[in-house]
């Protein structure tokens, strides 16, 4: 037993009952008096010059309040970290999702109609859709002013002497892998409502994962609009799924702001599903060249990876995924020599941003597929091969990661045990394994990796805690409530977690990098400790003992070893409140983990701790059709400690199914820059019918820095899924598929090719 009362309990998600009753309010449900509806006009070409635009008919339509084009917006406005994306494009479009005009009107229907009345003339330009072709000398330039299609980004990490290690290796394999576009498919589509008050202060309702950084982006927009010095308040309605999709601000948010200011009324922009597919960002697609070697005993000797990333027509966070890919490349297993180079290349396709795992699934697909190939070449069992190279506590990896707690070995054991006991393999079946490393204690990708918490207690023993963190369904509300309740000897239901409003919640860098339990959790824990200190100091005076002699448990404060001296917490709080001079219990804390920023060479201890996991899967492959069926799946993770096992399992199950979609079925099909399947009928998500039996063994290594020992687990569930499946398919039928997704057509073609060859 853990010795804890609330931590470790399967407490239902705090807002589950509200959601079960249909009372939770999402962006769809936000409705303000006098609200107008905005609609956006997108490009009809992948690459073209806009030669003329006529908005007169749209403007004349009754009910239309404003029409904006790229010429009407402040010329300085640019979105994204590479600043190559004005919210409305004036002269030129670089991809089909480029926004070129927007309308605000009294209803959605009128806004839609108005958008359809805008007449645009284009002069189509030669386009480029393949990133490797876009690197060639005479390729059309996506952004002429940039002079080259290759972005000026420094993705390069070298450690040791790869060439010497390559020469000295007993076994070497090399290959090319590709991963394609997939998208988040949050069940709630995106949207925002913007409004200005009489003094030009702005409020934005948005289902963002980055309230504080969104606030900063919106302040920049206000600055460009000549409204410097005004305030921005960001309110998050209940978020219907995030998975990274809401980690950057989007054009629609900035357009809603521009329209709201122009109309002097609240303006709402809400995406329909087609728009959600076409105008939100994807996972970053990659072309990966990998070469990896080992010695006679199976110790990895080097890993050499070169990547080309299709950056699409504009730049969002997708272009920074190589920074996270460096993590598995340098630090998954002990590998003494590493070389990694990546290029992001403009094309006229859509563009990518963050998606659960942030580049880790792509890199791990190549690494772990290649691990099996290398094990085979060396004549070593794949599981044994992984054990030979497994990370251990105390390791310092080539990137400079200091591994503290590490349960990779236990994860391998747990998965192997689950998968190999019981039913023997049948004809056409195979088992595959793949491991993962991920940041478990945040990741310093910004100047601060911190999160604030403000806590107050009322006269009735209840807590309100205001966190900078964001719950988008993953369960941060419970993490905070359970951590605070444990520390203060209360129940989870005594804790009200507020995370919806930048006017009252402190700063946080955002819900990414599986960091919220660790960082927001630690901030909450320390705020609770401070509150407890104050309360116990008061109690100590009352009971005439030292504060150390007091315990808070079961909603009471009592003197250790003296059952007579005890008082319910609410009574003590009232005593403190109403005694002369009065004390109200309030405390705050800003926790910024000692994570290091990446230096020029990208070497640093990016996170104070790392999460590990091993996935194993048994598949059946139908040799006639190429269809792959997942028979059962085991995903073991070193999570430090499970604050709430039920919600933790939910993260793993959800991640695994998302990962299986990535492995087997999901693909945003893009032809000449245009998305061909912007709907759930043709974009193949797993449904309840495809549900898979999943086991999720939890390895608890009690991380020294985590709140109650916990590490992050939001993303790992979908990280090594695809290579585990690919490895299982190889075991089953002897074909290796190197391009995601592994569709029946690809498997069948490989089987046919193989049988022709033999």
């Amino acid at each position: 037993m853990s010795g804890y009362n609330v931590v470790g309990q399967r407490v239902p998600k705090l807002d589950a009952a509200q959601k079960a009753m249909g009372r939770a309010e999402y962006i769809q449900d936000v409705r303000l008096p006098g609200m107008l509806f905005g609609k956006i006009l997108y490009s009809r070409h992948a690459h073209a010059r806009i030669t003329a635009m006529d908005i007169s008919k749209a403007r004349a339509l009754p009910g239309v309040h404003a029409v904006l084009t790229g010429k009407d917006i402040p010329s300085k406005m640019r979105m994204g970290f590479y600043k190559d994306n004005p919210p409305l494009k004036a002269d030129k479009v670089c991809c089909f999702r480029d926004e070129i005009a927007a309308v605000a009107a009294v209803s959605e229907a009128v806004a839609k109609k108005a958008v359809s009345l805008i007449e645009v003339e284009y002069e189509p330009l030669p386009a480029v859709f393949d990133p490797e072709a876009a690197m060639e000398k005479n390729a059309p330039l996506v952004h002429e002013a940039h002079k080259s299609n290759v972005l000026k980004l420094p993705w390069k990490l070298h450690y040791g002497d790869v060439e010497a290690a390559d020469k000295a290796s007993a076994y070497v394999v090399e290959d090319r892998f590709t991963t394609t576009w997939v998208t988040h498919c949050c069940l709630s589509t995106s949207g925002a409502v913007a409004l200005f008050d009489a003094s030009d202060n702005l409020t934005v309702y948005s289902n963002t994962q980055i309230p504080s950084l969104a606030q900063k982006d919106f302040l920049e927009t206000l600055g460009a609009m000549g409204l410097k010095g005004k305030r921005v308040r960001v309110i998050k309605p209940v978020i219907g799924g995030g998975f990274g999709s809401k980690l950057d601000t989007y054009a629609y948010e900035h357009i809603a702001i521009l329209l709201a200011h122009k109309c002097r009324k609240p303006v709402k922009i809400l995406f329909d599903r087609k728009e959600e597919f076409e105008a939100t960002s994807t996972r970053q697609p990659t072309v990966i060249y990998i070469r990896q070697g080992c010695d006679k005993e199976g110790h990895l000797t080097f890993r050499d990876i070169r990547m080309v990333l299709d950056n699409g027509g504009r730049t969002s966070w997708g272009a920074t995924t190589p920074s996270v890919m460096m993590m598995p490349i340098t630090s998954l297993y002990r590998v003494p020599n590493v070389r990694y180079d990546a290029k992001c290349v403009y094309t006229n396709n859509t563009y990518a941003q963050a998606m659960r795992g942030y580049g880790n699934p792509q890199a791990t697909f190549a690494i772990e597929s290649c691990m099996d190939m290398l094990a085979q070449k060396a004549g070593i069992d794949p599981v044994a091969f992984r054990r030979i190279n497994q990370n251990e506590p105390g390791d310092v990896t080539p990137q400079g990661f200091k591994i503290t707690s590490c349960g990779l070995a236990q994860c391998i054991d747990a998965v192997e045990k689950e998968l190999t006991q019981g039913r023997p393999l049948e004809e056409g079946e195979g088992i595959g394994y793949a491991s993962l490393i991920h940041v478990g204690g945040g990741a310093r990708i910004y100047k601060s990796d911190g999160c604030g918490a403000i806590l107050k207690m009322d006269d009735y023993g209840r807590v309100d805690i205001f966190t900078g963190g964001t719950d988008m369904g993953q369960g941060l509300d419970n993490m905070i409530a359970q951590i605070v309740a444990e520390e203060l000897g209360l129940l989870a239901e005594d804790i009200n977690v507020v995370h919806t409003d930048t006017d009252v919640c402190p700063w946080d860098v955002g819900a990414h990098a599986s960091r919220s339990t660790f960082v927001a959790g630690n901030a909450a824990l320390w705020a609770a400790r401070r509150a407890k200190q104050t309360l116990l100091a008061f109690g100590a005076k009352l009971f005439e003992v030292a504060p150390e002699d007091l315990v808070m448990e079961n909603r009471t404060v009592s003197v250790k070893n003296d059952p007579e001296k005890t008082m319910p917490v609410d009574k003590l709080l009232r005593k403190a409140h109403f005694s002369p001079g009065g004390t109200m219990l309030m405390a705050d804390y800003f926790y910024d983990p000692p994570n290091e920023n990446m230096g020029k060479d990208f070497k640093c201890n990016l996170s104070v701790t790392y999460s590990f996991g091993v996935h194993g899967v048994r598949v059946h492959v139908d040799k006639e059709t190429g269809k792959v069926t997942v028979k059962n799946y085991v995903a073991a993770h070193d999570v430090g400690r499970a604050i709430n096992p039920m919600l933790l399992e939910g993260q793993v199950y959800g991640g695994v199914i998302m990962g299986l979609g990535y492995a087997l079925s999901e693909e945003v099909m893009i032809k000449e820059g245009q998305i061909r399947n912007p709907n759930f009928r043709d974009y193949k998500l797993f449904t309840a019918k495809d549900a898979v039996p999943i086991k999720a063994p939890v390895i608890e290594t009690h991380d020294p820095d985590g709140p109650f020992g916990a590490k992050g687990i939001g993303e790992p569930g979908c990280v090594p899924t695809a290579p585990a499946v690919a490895n299982a398919i190889y075991q089953a039928v002897g074909v290796r598929i190197k391009d995601l997704p592994i569709t029946p057509e690809k498997v069948l073609a490989a089987i046919l090719k193989q049988s022709k060859g033999s």
């Binding site: 589950a16 079960a20 949050c186 709630s188 209940v238 599903r273 993953q474 399992e649 998302m658 309840a688």
Partner: protein, 186 residues
């Protein structure tokens, strides 16, 4: 074209003016303010908008408002109102981790209810079949299937107890609706 329709909504007889082209989803959300029913695609592909019409789970985004004339419509808001406590399916989703972001939840629960009202002992294949049109991006379905199975057991137990209908708020709703339409619960 505007016309007036009457139907039973969550046990209450109502009549309202509608436009011919309105969907039931539009009527519920935009005109009647019942925001519990969600729109995930507007195209019959996600199930977030599922409601029960005359005991059948339907996608309200494809169902014409005009077609509910004379029928019984149940939405997520109609499950817990009578006693204030949750319906066993709602409770089970809460208790078993069947809810993360919650956007699929109302539709999931309504699809599950249409099935379990008919057959609380439905096996997993039947449950998967009934939920096949409801997409969930968060949970991977594992805990949703657990939730529905546990709810089925609870509902079967309630039925077995004979007087179950009186204890089960959801069944009360259903019963009062059926009574109004002059039907008998089997």
């Amino acid at each position: 074209m505007t016309k007036t329709i009457s139907f039973i909504l969550n046990g209450d007889e109502i009549s309202c003016d509608i436009q011919d082209h309105w969907t039931l989803l539009h009527l519920l959300r935009e005109e009647l303010g019942l925001i519990g029913t969600k729109e995930g695609c507007g195209n019959g592909e996600c199930g977030a908008c599922t409601v029960i019409v005359d005991q059948l789970a339907v996608n309200s985004c494809l169902y014409l408002a005009a077609d509910v004339q004379g029928k019984q419509v149940q939405t997520i808001e109609g499950l817990a109102v009578h006693t204030g406590s949750l319906h066993p399916i709602q409770q089970s989703f809460v208790d078993n981790g069947g809810i993360q972001c919650g956007f699929c939840t109302p539709g999931m629960i309504m699809s599950a209810k249409a099935l379990l009202d008919k057959d609380p002992k439905a096996d997993q294949e039947a449950v998967k079949h009934a939920l096949a049109g409801n997409i969930c991006r968060c949970t991977g379905y594992v805990q949703i299937l657990d939730s529905v199975a546990a709810a089925g057991r609870q509902m079967a137990k309630n039925q077995g107890e004979g007087a179950a209908a009186a204890k089960d708020p959801g069944t009360i709703t259903q019963q009062s609706m059926n009574k109004k339409a002059g039907e008998v619960i089997t």
